[in-house]
């Protein structure tokens, strides 16, 4: 009997180990595969040229990724600038001020929002955000804008990641022990003082983690952004200019014009860049979190 149980234990452990290794290995497999596929273009052009020029003329063999990289970073940046404060305030209100009934209904709505397919956000953005920017907002700042712009991409993306951030932050804030709030309140702190000095401080690593997750998600979001940002290859000069993020580039072009030499390789390099940005970003934020933890021992 014992033998059988021990054997099962052993098998189970090895099985789980294999599963773990495989799932981690997939990451390297994807990274390696993309890198291998983008080797042809890397051998022809220097990495520096690829990253810093913005000429994109596949037929002439010009592949510059600067505008795509800049587009991706700026759309994501705007999205997080809009989404983070809104989500923070919302989730603080929900957890600290609202009644539990509101929390219950609100959580359901948030889950629903994060379940809506991106393409619907894209359509909605095209119908409302794009004309709003072109007619009402842009004229105050620039001479002309179609509305398909960095800003439109940022706004749509922000709306998409807000539910994600809120649902994480709600978890994070609920994890702050009640006793800690009471300790602060019993010293005569107001609710807002308690939130500011205790709850947010205690939740800081969680807030960072939520932001990181949202940014990673935003980097990769393709279809909704593709529908509202104009897909025009040039360095955007303002947030009202059209742009062309990396995921949109890949999605729009992969499978077409494959006869053009090096074209496939260039798109693979775009994919590798996206992969690389997200991996590096995650590593950095992990390191930041470790530092925060060390410093505050929260």
């Amino acid at each position: 009997m014992l033998r059988g149980r021990l054997l099962k234990d052993k098998i189970a452990r090895h099985y789980m180990l294999t599963a773990t290794v495989v799932s981690i290995f997939v990451l390297f497999l994807i990274g390696g595969g993309l890198f291998y596929k983008s080797l042809p273009i890397l051998q022809e052009k220097s990495l520096w040229t690829l990253l810093t020029t913005s000429n994109w003329r596949p037929f002439k063999g010009d592949f510059g990724f600067a505008s795509y990289i800049l587009s991706t970073l700026s759309v994501t940046g705007i999205a997080i600038l809009i989404a983070l404060p809104l989500s923070l305030l919302t989730s603080i209100y929900i957890i600290e001020y609202a009644s539990p009934t509101i929390l219950r209904y609100f959580s359901a709505v948030v889950d629903l929002l994060s379940g809506i397919p991106p393409v619907i956000y894209g359509v909605w953005g095209t119908l409302t955000i794009v004309p709003f920017i072109s007619e009402n907002l842009a004229p105050h700042f620039v001479e002309f804008s179609t509305g398909y712009s960095v800003l439109a991409g940022g706004i749509v993306l922000a709306i998409m990641i807000i539910p994600l951030i809120i649902s994480i932050l709600i978890e994070v804030f609920s994890a702050v022990p009640k006793e800690m709030r009471e300790a602060s309140m019993s010293l005569g702190a107001t609710k807002w003082q308690t939130v500011k000095k205790v709850v947010i401080r205690k939740s800081f690593p969680g807030i960072v983690a939520a932001t990181v997750l949202a940014i990673s998600r935003a980097f990769g979001e393709t279809i909704a952004v593709l529908m509202v940002c104009g897909n025009f290859t040039d360095l955007p000069k303002s947030i009202f200019d059209a742009c062309y993020p990396l995921p949109a580039l890949i999605a729009n072009n992969y499978g077409e014009m494959m006869s053009v030499p090096k074209y496939e390789s260039a798109l693979m390099f775009a994919a590798f860049l996206l992969f690389f940005i997200i991996v590096i970003f995650n590593i950095i934020s992990r390191l930041v979190l470790i530092q925060i933890d060390k410093r505050y021992q929260l």
Binding site: M180, S184, M185, S186, G188, R201, L298
Partner: protein, 274 residues
């Protein structure tokens, strides 16, 4: 047998403090207090005047409402859902459950020690000066002086003076409880509330806390909820015995422990039930 003729409720406190507004009552006076949680009658018609500048222990079996009563003293039920409170609770003559009473200045009058020490997520020194800071005390020197004074008062200064900037969570649990006491004292309260403040501590740490209470009782009105009768016997000046949400007996420690009037009290302190 003279003691037997004493009234069941303790006489008015030995020291009457007249505060700036000319209040003649003790710091805490409870009048016909009832509390309901989700319709359940948890506290039943409590009447008590807690004597100033002494230690009052609230004892009673689990679930008798001791902690609930203590928490009404600084309105910690405010954020709980479905809690209804009727009756009056005077802190320095101010009915804290009156409609327009502002809560923060009442809480500032009381330091609260929770069951498990709850250090705030910041450094040792920031924990101590948290209260003064939120009440507007500024200036590094001033705050440092407050921290030093209060940490000294709880006997923690020598232990932590070289690491004031390190996280409070690194301290041992006994040290954290003393830190919490220092933090409470730093807002210069008149009252200290302890909710089984030593139950999570090792014997030596709880002894330290008990001694601290004894050493500061001439300056503060201390109300402790305790599970351990022995602790109440060691430090209480007055004892309140509660059972099923009612205040059964309230008097001096000598009276309650040695000459209990009520049958339930007698049974409880002789270990009949717990």
């Amino acid at each position: 047998m003279e003691l037997m003729t004493e009234p069941m409720i303790a006489e008015q406190p030995k020291t009457k403090v007249k505060n700036s507004s000319g209040c003649e009552k003790p710091h805490i006076e409870v009048e016909n207090l009832n509390l309901y949680i989700q319709g359940n009658h948890i506290l039943k018609n409590i009447n008590m005047a807690i004597p100033d500048k002494s230690i009052t222990c609230i004892i009673g079996p689990s679930g008798c409402g001791k902690t609930t009563l203590l928490r009404t003293f600084n309105r910690l039920h405010d954020d709980s859902v479905d809690v209804k409170i009727t009756g009056k609770l005077f802190v320095d003559c101010e009915d804290i459950y009156a409609k327009d009473t502002e809560v923060t200045h009442i809480r500032k009058k009381m330091g609260l020690l929770a069951q498990r020490p709850c250090s705030l997520p910041m450094s040792i020194i920031d924990n101590v000066v948290y209260g003064p800071r939120i009440h507007g005390v500024r200036g590094r020197r001033k705050l440092y002086a407050i921290a030093r004074h209060q940490l000294n008062a709880v006997g923690l200064w020598e232990e932590v003076k070289d690491r004031l900037k390190s996280p409070a969570s690194k301290l041992s649990i006994g040290q954290q409880q003393r830190l919490c006491l220092a933090r409470g004292l730093a807002v210069e309260p008149e009252i200290i509330l302890g909710d089984e403040a030593t139950s999570a501590l090792d014997p030596i740490s709880s002894k330290t806390i008990e001694e601290l209470f004894l050493s500061i009782k001439d300056k503060y009105t201390i109300v402790l909820v305790t599970h351990t009768l022995r602790q109440a016997k060691r430090i209480a000046d007055y004892v309140a015995f509660m059972y099923m949400g009612e205040l059964i007996e309230f008097g001096t420690a000598d009276q309650v422990f040695n000459h209990p009037k009520h049958k339930l009290t007698r049974e409880y302190i002789s270990g009949g039930f717990s």
